[in-house]
Amino acid sequence: MSDILQSLIDIVGEKGVSNEPEELWFYSRDPGVLAPHKPDYVVAPKTTEEVQKIVQLAGREKIPVVPMGNGMSLAGLVIPLKGGIVLDMKRMNKILEVNPMGRYAVMEGGTSQGALKSYLQKNHPTLRHSLPDAPPTTTIAANVSLHGQGRLTNQYGFNSDMVTGLEMVLPTGEICRIGSPSIGPYWFSKGPTLPDLSGLFLGWLGATGIITKVGLKLFPNKKIRDVELFVTDRVELVPQILYKLTHLEVCEDINVWFQPKPQMFLGNFHVTIFFTGDTEDEIEFKRKMIWDSLQEHMDAKDGGFMSVQYMKSTLLEMPGRTIADFADVPKGGGFEYSGPIALIEHYPQYAAKVVELAQKYNVLYASAARLISGGHAMMFSISFAFNRDDAAMMERVEKALDEAMTFALDMGGIPWKPNHKEQKMLLERMEPNARKLLLMIKKNLDPQGIMNPGNWEVNA
């Protein structure tokens, strides 16, 4: 047995470490199209102190460490590109505190989105968090680490904007609290009024440290949720429609989606509008506002509200279980998407590009955009499904996604959860002093380059 394996066992016990071929094979890949790379060890810590000791060991031995939640980014962000240790964080899953009056929760980083949702439903039914549409196994730390979005993103911004404090294990092995918990016992602010140090970690994909605890904002869970679905076949009107809807300030979540299958959806752009209320009067008032705001488009016969009765429960379901269905449309177990953050006014160009790329590479597309912060931007997903048993199709999807990202950057968009190739594209275009600043941060926090290497590797 190697010294490193024994040292890892000493830290987490035999049941917390594996270098068996089965775990090394599985943890070398994610469900996307990027090539796998094997780790040397998979380790599952249960406490912050165990994470600290593992990082200290990795630092001494100069071994890469890749923190992993459920590994569902689809962008290969937890593929250990340079081997080393994959840290499966899912055993750190305790919900530590809910402050109902302060509307925040504190939990270990490996807590799943599903577990938090369920816990709040059971113990604090008037509160909710911004649940992503990723599978419920997705962890809270991974989601904020990659600037995830959720059902409340239109109202309150990226899920990382909702962080109210962090506990980090730094690449040196030091444990560090960020925000109000660095000063006192309360987890209500990740930064303001202090210098916001959370930016040293959020969006860094584990390349500057490991999130072991997260404070997260909670929001009112209204008694009634409802949904309206506006449909138009005129893509050029979509930005105006979205502008009018966001002006109302009554919609908790707005998505725009289009897809060629099933054929009843082909050629139309579907604007799904979610809103909430504590009374039927409130719901009807908001519904009237939504309908009134788009009346001129209905009068002009450019679109109309579609009955949602037969798919209402599907649309309101959180997380949306049917979203994963796209992976099986080509009977094949996979899809991947590029999700640039872009201006709403660019929606028509992005929409055209999706169809163009799908035709060029002969792959199946779907697209769903989610509005961010009342319409300041949108996440525009360019999704392509593939058959995992068809290597050529997977290659075509990879090429289509590369081209999609080039297009997004040309349009002035910025990639969401960029894979290692997209990170390089982004850095090449970045203003040099901004790149220099990133380098400074990375070098100072992780001088040995052990944290998720291959990601955010900034060349001088």
Binding site: G71, K90, R91, A115, R321
Partner: protein, 391 residues
């Protein structure tokens, strides 16, 4: 990609997205896959098994003790089948895992506990290696007679015939059926192992022999209707035996007792106690029988029935399904299914944890001891509870 091994549903394995819905109940409150809960690696979750099976079929990973442990730690609870979000192939997940185990059996690379289980059943006719002649001893004092031409055959199964906890359960059911005036008999020393768990563990040859022997015996005796103690037996009698020519009307004892209570053949007096109920996987998710056990418990005057958080189709397995009752691959650590389950039962404040399966009864009785809950929680079969409430 070249496939070097084959299973019947190999055309499906690549379609798993490993999204992980399969390891939860429908409200995502906790992990509902017993092996994932116990081992904590993604490889031990249904998605892990799907992806590893594909790698193994293609020769990307070799047969190993670890691979076998991963495959044989599945307790066949069917939660993954219910929770998977892919309607076009979700029903085949348990088949894929079973077929992979069968392939491993064919290669002769199985965990020692599984091997010993097969050997015991093959040699002794039961996993306990106890004499066949003692198989019907449990029925002494119950009033049950050997099956001749009664309306019903009461099938006790190996756990009900040999295990102390199982025998108590069988005795209480047997007495209840006799006292209610049912025309019922047992096979005693002529009863054979039902083979459900042998099949789940992938020994298809042994299963075929056991099933055929049982079918021949049932037919020779003129059996038409069977009441089973064990949901495992119920499952294979209903699901697998018909294809082998064994078509009988099969009911679980909970269905029969519920009916007898409705017909007032069993009369109950007040029994003020708080009871919760554990759904056995082979009765619930496999056979969709959820209401009969609850009807029984709710019929007891003054008894308070309370559900565990995970119940019905979302129930968490006791860990004894799919042969793990005998092979014990899940172990008895803090996160083993049975210990998690009794903690959940205790949270309800109930003093009785009702069970409808002798395997569950044994698993949970042991777990109550391990969790030091003996003063708070008693594990009892449905008929054992009825005995206390009978007029």
């Amino acid at each position: 990609m070249t496939t070097i091994r084959h299973i019947e549903h190999e055309q499906i394995v690549h379609r798993c997205f490993r999204c992980g819905y399969c390891k939860y109940p429908s409200d995502y409150s906790d992990f509902n896959c017993p092996s994932y809960k116990a081992f904590g690696w993604d490889t031990f979750a249904p998605g892990g098994r799907m992806w590893l099976t594909r790698a193994w079929l293609h020769g990307e990973i070799e047969t190993s003790a670890r691979f076998a442990e991963i495959m044989f730690s599945c307790v066949a609870c069917d939660n993954c089948k219910d929770q998977c979000v892919f309607p076009k192939f979700k029903d085949f997940l348990p088949d894929i895992f079973q077929e992979t185990r069968a392939e491993l059996v064919g290669e002769g690379r199985i965990p020692p506990g599984v091997r010993d289980y097969f050997k015991a059943v093959a040699v002794s006719g039961n996993p306990y290696k106890l004499p066949q002649s003692e198989r019907g001893d449990w029925a002494k004092g119950t009033g049950l007679k050997p099956y001749t031409n009664q309306k019903y055959l009461f099938y006790a199964g190996s756990v009900g015939s040999y295990d102390e906890v199982g025998k108590r359960m069988a005795q209480s059911v047997g007495k209840m059926l006799v006292d209610a005036g049912l025309s019922v008999g047992i096979l005693g020393a002529e009863e054979g192992c039902d083979g459900n768990d042998v099949r789940a563990l992938g020994e298809m040859g042994l299963f075929a022999q056991l099933a055929q022997a049982n079918i021949d015996t049932f037919k020779a005796k003129g059996v038409k209707e069977i009441i089973t103690l064990d949901p495992h037996a119920l499952n294979t009698f209903k699901k697998d035996y018909p294809a082998l020519g064994g078509k009988f009307k099969v009911q679980h004892y909970s269905e029969v007792l519920a009916e007898l209570i409705k017909k007032k053949k069993i009369k109950l007096k007040a029994y003020p106690v708080k009871i919760t109920y554990h759904d056995p996987c082979y009765l619930g998710r496999h056979q969709q029988i959820y209401s009969a056990p609850r009807e029984i418990l709710k019929a007891i005057p003054k008894a308070e029935f309370v559900e565990m958080h995970r119940h019905g189709a979302n129930a968490f397995c006791c860990g004894g399904g799919g042969g793990n009752f005998f092979t014990d691959i899940l172990g008895t650590a803090e996160d083993s299914a049975s210990r998690v389950r009794v903690r959940e039962a205790a949270e309800t404040g109930a003093s009785i944890l009702a069970v409808a399966c002798p395997n569950c009864a044994k698993m949970l009785t042991d777990a109550v001891k391990m969790e030091n809950l003996e003063d708070r929680l008693e594990v009892l079969g449905l008929a054992e509870i009825l005995e206390r409430a009978r007029k």
